[in-house]
């Protein structure tokens, strides 16, 4: 969110120009010589050096940016197409000036420089206030070095973009300097690992300087929400400023003003906006509409569920994010649509009017690039508004923007540890928990009936797993029930019994079916006890990993197969029992087989206790998953008893 500050006046140009480490257009022999990047030898291109020097000029910040890139492989030529993005809004909030760009190729012992001119730069209005400057370097070859520099002016100085030290290609050196005038007091928001280990203080007060080297490229990996949560970066939020005023006697007076001195100030700032107020204190005529007719006949929990269902079914989420309502409650009621904050605030108004306690809760979802909240009242940390609803014995976190999703199941990227409830007083960050007991529980009974193998399968999915499976279209559901060989359960879909039930806030989905398959060999049978698994194959194929694995939610899976040994048969062989866990205990697995009379019971469990597995544990995790997926595929061998087999053989001879 961009907040404009136009209230600060009388500020003068401040700061000392900090010289760039690499001079535009001057190249070093080692830059031409560089052919690979030590820490990413397969990189197609590399940022040799980039820098941003941020200086204040009045109420505008000038970011002098310079980036130099070398193409190392043919596939890196595409980097020669450059897009610079800015937010103009309606008030020219950001603009790009003094753009220059050039490319150099080292040919026959000399530098061949091609400079881009104004006609090569295209400005594109991409909508919603955003614009891009696009350009393409000519003659990009392996070994080319291209660079560009520009000044990005930013009038929004409450929240400073700061600098991201990483790129989609590796970066050898990334430098950021900022000179903050003494009348501004900014708080620093840092993220990453290297940034915390880098000394950024200088001998000059208010001047900070970071120089990070050897930064890996960032790319999305499976089982993560967004790499933005892990980037090395620094941002700033204005905490306080000094202003000068002259009183009626001509005396100058300096005053220090704190932007948001406390969380309560920030909460008030939000809640005092007229649109917001319209939800918190609706007019009498609207309040009458909010009273639920049969509300007094329901207990609070039933009423909460009813109102939640009403909002999710009858109000359309327009897909727009944000923490603030843009329309008053009247419009939302009339159009039956709104952004996330508006829909949730409508539910809040309904709840409050029907005497259920609810407060707006701001969160920073996963992928918002704010993995840890800063304990300062900074509005820009948050990107979603949901609700915190208090019943007598429990607190629920609620988002009323997804039709068909039960009340206590937030989107998985909303599973964050902290949030900011907007209260009338004493607002502060609070810790959040997301209680659930998700799981994939499979129970099968396997037996033999006149040359056929008969399998009764009962799959019970719990909480998040139930929510996910419960939203599947029938075709997709059949696909999920399909095994590795592409065989679907041989039952017509109308005979596939799917029962969705709720039990005290828990979501339970039961799926049952039976199959009968002819046996090709009745002398010896290889029976795989578990036809369905959470994973048929190991989901981790990459050899290594840059970012942590995020499973998003914990679960406890149970598998149980009861194999009835037919008369005349005996168990010949079965997999070994094992029990294992990752070193930190985040993931554990057990597999056991017992035989009682003519029943062989195979049980297994997979339990994930931590959603986040660090990248350093990836190799262990990958191997562990291989053990789980292969073990769950191992067969039990049943064969005809030896004396019976002998009898059969004799009868064939005769």
């Amino acid at each position: 969110m961009k907040l404009l500050v136009l209230i600060i006046t009388g500020l003068l140009y401040h700061g000392i120009v900090i010289g760039q480490e690499t001079k535009y257009g001057k190249y070093q022999p080692e830059e031409f010589a560089l052919q690979t990047v030590d820490f990413e030898p397969d990189a197609a291109a590399v940022v040799l050096e980039e820098s941003c020097v941020s200086l204040f000029l009045g109420v505008t910040i000038h970011n002098q940016i310079h980036r130099r890139v070398k193409v190392l492989k043919e596939s890196g030529k595409e980097l020669g197409d450059v897009v610079l993005r800015m937010y103009k809004g309606n008030d020219n909030i950001e603009s790009i000036q003094r753009l220059k760009a050039q490319i150099v190729n080292f040919e026959n012992g000399s530098e061949k420089v091609s400079k881009l001119s104004k006609k090569d730069f295209f400005e594109v209005d991409t909508g919603d206030g955003y614009r891009e400057i696009r350009f393409s370097f000519p003659d990009v070859q392996e070994g080319s070095i291209f660079e560009y520099s520009y000044v990005k002016l930013d009038k929004s100085i409450v929240f400073l973009e700061g600098w991201v030290f990483q790129n989609e290609i590796p970066t050898l050196k990334s430098i950021y300097s900022i000179d903050i005038p003494s009348h501004f007091d900014y708080k620093m928001l840092k993220q990453g690992e290297k940034i915390f280990k880098t000394n950024h203080q200088t001998s000059t007060r208010g001047k900070y300087h970071w120089e990070l080297t050897d930064l890996r490229a960032f790319k999305p990996e499976p089982y993560m929400n967004h790499y933005k949560d892990y980037l090395e970066k620094v941002e700033f939020q204005l905490y306080a400023y000094e202003s000068q005023s002259t009183n009626e006697w001509g005396e100058k007076k300096e005053e220090r003003k704190i932007m948001f001195g406390s969380w309560q100030d920030l909460a008030n700032l939000f809640m005092e906006k007229s649109e917001f107020k319209s939800f918190l204190s609706p007019s009498k005529s609207i309040r009458e509409k909010l009273i639920w007719e049969s509300g007094d006949k329901l207990d609070k929990k039933e009423l909460l569920y009813t109102l939640y269902k009403h909002v999710t079914h009858h109000y359309r989420y327009d897909g727009k994010e944000g923490v603030l309502p843009k329309e008053p409650i009247k419009n939302v009621l009339e159009t039956k649509s709104g952004n996330r904050a508006e829909i949730n605030l409508l539910l809040l108004a309904l709840l409050r009017e029907n005497e259920i306690e609810a407060v707006p809760l701001l969160i920073s979802s996963k992928g918002n690039g704010r993995s840890t909240l800063i304990h300062y009242p900074f509005a820009d940390q948050f990107n979603h508004m949901i609700l915190m609803v208090k019943l007598q014995d429990e607190t629920l976190l609620v988002d009323a923007n997804r039709s068909g999703v039960p009340i206590n199941f937030l989107p998985l990227d909303f599973h964050v540890n902290q949030g900011f409830p907007l209260l009338a007083k004493n607002s502060d960050l609070v810790n959040l928990s997301h209680p659930h007991r998700s799981g994939f529980n499979l129970f099968t009974t396997i037996g033999m009936d006149i040359g056929s193998l008969v399998t009764e399968t009962h799959l019970r999915l719990l909480d998040y797993d139930a929510v996910e499976w419960g939203r599947l279209e029938e075709k997709e559901l059949q696909k999920r029930l399909t095994n590795n060989t592409g065989e679907s359960p041989e039952v017509p879909s109308e005979k596939l019994l799917v029962v969705n039930r709720k039990n005290d806030g828990r979501e339970i989905l039961d799926i049952s079916y039976s199959e009968q398959k002819p046996l090709t060999d009745t002398e010896k049978m290889f029976i795989t006890p578990f036809a369905l698994k959470r994973w048929d194959n190991n989901p981790f194929q990459a050899t290594d990993r840059t970012f942590p694995v995020d499973f998003n939610y914990t679960f406890n899976d149970r598998y149980s197969a009861k194999i009835n040994i037919p008369e005349g048969y005996e168990v010949d062989d079965f997999p070994e029992s094992i029990s294992a866990a990752l070193p930190n205990g985040a993931l554990s697995f057990s597999y056991a087989i017992t035989q009682m009379d003519r029943v062989l019971t195979v049980t297994a469990s997979v339990s994930l206790k931590e959603t986040l597995i660090p990248a350093v544990s990836y190799a262990d995790l990958k191997y562990f998953m291989e053990i789980i997926t292969s073990k769950l595929n191992e067969p039990v061998v049943i064969k005809v008893m030896e004396n019976l087999a002998q009898q059969r053989a004799n009868s064939q001879v005769e």
């Binding site: 596939s75 209005d125 194929q541 050899t543 997999p575 291989e626 292969s630 067969p635 061998v637």
Partner: protein
């Protein structure tokens, strides 16, 4: 065959071309296009009507080859679900201007106008498709935010297009869940310019009026029910001029031959090379005798030294950039790169033809009976004495003579100096366009693991995928691709890949070695080894035939004997033959598999998938051994 979801609004552009990466031809056409293309949500599941539409469209062609389109639309929104239906969007560019615009939001009960929106209140943004650096198309748009329902919205707009290369196409239906109360389409044209149209069977012929040298055609439909799912026979009228002109370039599109003449006119002089470039061509090819080798050499030079960058401005949407400009910048779009290679081949003494194609693996075939602009991409045809070579000039990895899935097996318009000629690109249905020969040597290690050395010779489409990925992803990403597309549990430690195209067929030689985690299962009595550990991406075989061979040699390092008889399968049917042979000698197990697929052209996707399931079932077995 019309499909609602692919129909743009009465605008004369090709919907499925609009988002194409290599788009160029359609960009120039001004249009008011259909937001339906972007629609998502519960289409097909909600049977009710969200809105009711009345619409009159009048198109007037002028003697100077421009035309004016006037639209008068009355829309009754019944609920908030119809909000998308009220969206106005109009594409403008150097040829298209929105002259007038007015929208009124009216309370249908009282008849009172609640709001009037004028031209200056429309929002504007650039419309640059993915893969294009810059284009001069802009979108004017407006989305009403009614406060109540039902609500009536009246739109009136008029736009002028200075050039009639594209004429509007009439689709009365714009959205699902929209009832069409009345829809009219009138197109008037001077007799000397002429007009052709094509409507589908569900439409009656238009009313025709001739007056003072002008002809007017008029269609009217009323009370069309709202739709909840796509249909094949929706009413539609396509129009195209006989004579046309864009920016002074006059042409005729009554026949493909005439259409091609106009394209040739646009291309005139674009293939001139500087003396330096000519000299370079000779340096590259003069030592070669075989024409294909010359083509191959020049194509490889283009692939290595030039890159695809698309900038579409004005007539540049159709007119290639001068070959010399491409040489200067070392980049170009499909037209520019094609023109450059054509010029280089010309210098090498090999004539070739600039060719227009509708690109896209899912693109509908062009309508051969209706010569008009139906293309979105340019390729090169090189007719040699004994064969024709087709070249995709934007690719950096394909061999000369192999087009890939997005332009293969379809009609194209070849632009010759004598005009346009329809030709067809190859279908690549022979098995050498999908052939894999995989040899694996495994050594079993304790705990179910194994060490693996493999070699794989891949030909045809899968080879082009491998080459593309190898070139355009990092080593780490490519290793992950190999891990996941070779067999479960593989952790590749080393690999090398060489692209050794077999003439016009992509060919890749892959060598790798690594460990396989949990390759086999071990119980107290047995060892179980998968008959087919490797991943066979059968679904990739879409071109008719495929051939997969695999030889797996496993060093067991333990004394094992067959538990159950070894599989020796030799199966042949209408669509495929599969041979499997497993043999155990000493402590070495050999598994040979050979699959030949030969699908007829008209096989359905369902049948193909059921065949794949059958094959996978046959392959999905465990070989069981008793431990001695």
């Amino acid at each position: 065959m019309f499909h609602l979801l692919k129909i743009p609004l009465h605008c004369g552009v090709f919907s499925n071309l609009f988002i194409s990466m290599k788009l160029f031809l359609s960009l120039l056409a001004s249009m008011v296009y259909c937001p339906l293309l972007l629609a998502s949500g519960p289409i097909g599941v909600l049977p009710e009507t969200y809105s009711i539409l009345e619409e009159n469209i009048k198109v007037t062609l002028e003697e100077d080859f421009g035309y004016v389109e006037e639209v008068d639309q009355s829309l009754l929104l019944l609920s908030s679900s119809a909000l998308d239906h009220a969206q106005f969007e109009c594409l403008i560019n150097s040829f298209t201007k929105l002259l007038d615009f007015e929208a009124k939001i009216i309370n249908p009960l009282s008849g009172k106008t609640l709001q009037t929106i004028k031209r200056k209140q429309l929002k504007e943004k650039n419309l640059v498709s993915d893969g294009t650096l810059y284009g001069d198309n802009k979108l004017l748009f407006f989305l009403p935010t009614p406060q109540q329902y039902p609500i009536k919205i009246e739109y009136r707009w008029k736009r002028h297009v200075s050039g009639n290369f594209h004429l509007p196409r009439w689709h009365p239906y714009h959205y699902f869940n929209q009832l069409i109360k009345k829809a009219t389409f009138e197109i008037a044209y001077p007799e000397e310019i002429g007009l052709r149209y094509k409507s589908n069977v569900s439409l009656l012929p238009p009313t025709e009026i001739q007056k003072e040298g002008k002809v007017s055609l008029f269609w009217e439909l009323s009370d069309l029910p709202s739709l909840t799912e796509s249909a094949d026979d929706l009413p539609e009228v396509a129009t195209a001029p006989v004579h046309f002109s864009m920016q002074g370039y006059r042409g005729n599109m009554q026949t493909w031959e005439d259409f091609g003449k106009w394209m040739h006119l646009l291309n005139h002089g674009k293939g001139d090379l500087s003396e330096g470039s000519k000299a370079l061509v000779h340096t590259l090819v003069d030592s070669l005798m075989d024409p294909y080798e010359k083509i191959d050499r020049l194509y490889k030079y283009l692939q290595k030294n030039y890159r695809y960058v698309s900038i579409q401005l004005g007539l540049g949407g159709w007119m290639p950039e001068n070959a010399n400009s491409v040489v200067q910048s070392k980049f170009g779009d499909c037209k520019g790169l094609t023109m450059l290679l054509k010029a280089m081949l010309q210098e090498a003494g090999i004539p070739s033809d600039y060719t227009l194609v509708r690109s896209g693996s899912e693109a509908k075939p062009i309508d051969l009976d209706f010569p008009s602009n139906q293309f979105n991409h340019a390729i090169l045809r090189v007719p040699l004495e004994e064969e024709t070579i087709w070249i995709e000039c934007t690719s950096t990895t394909l061999p000369a003579g192999f087009l890939g899935k997005s332009t293969m097996d379809r009609h194209v318009l070849v632009v010759t100096e004598n005009g346009g000629v329809i030709d067809r690109t190859p279908s690549y249905s022979q098995s050498n366009y999908h052939r894999i020969n995989h040899n694996l040597h495994l050594e079993l290690l304790p705990q179910g693991n194994a060490h693996l050395h493999g070699t794989k010779v891949i030909e045809g489409f899968p080879a082009s995928t491998f080459t593309h990925l190898h070139k355009n992803t990092s080593e780490k990403e490519f290793t992950t691709f190999l891990n996941s597309h070779t067999g479960g549990g593989l952790v590749i430690q080393e690999f090398s890949m060489a692209t050794e195209n077999e003439g016009k067929v992509p060919l890749v030689n892959l060598k790798y070695q690594g460990d396989v985690q949990r390759f086999y299962q071990s119980t107290s009595k047995r060892v179980l080894i998968p008959l087919s550990w490797t991943t066979w991406d059968l679904e990739e075989i879409t071109t008719g035939a495929g051939e997969l061979k695999e030889m797996l040699i496993i060093q067991l390092n333990q004394d094992l004997e067959w538990d159950i008889s070894p599989p020796q399968l030799s199966y042949s049917c209408e669509y495929y033959s599969l041979d499997i042979l497993a043999d155990l000698k000493d402590d070495r197990l050999t598994i040979e598999k050979k699959l030949d697929i030969h699908f007829p052209e008209d096989i359905t996707a369902d049948k193909r998938n059921s065949v794949f399931r059958e094959i996978k079932k046959a392959l999905n077995q465990q070989l069981s051994f008793i431990k001695n």
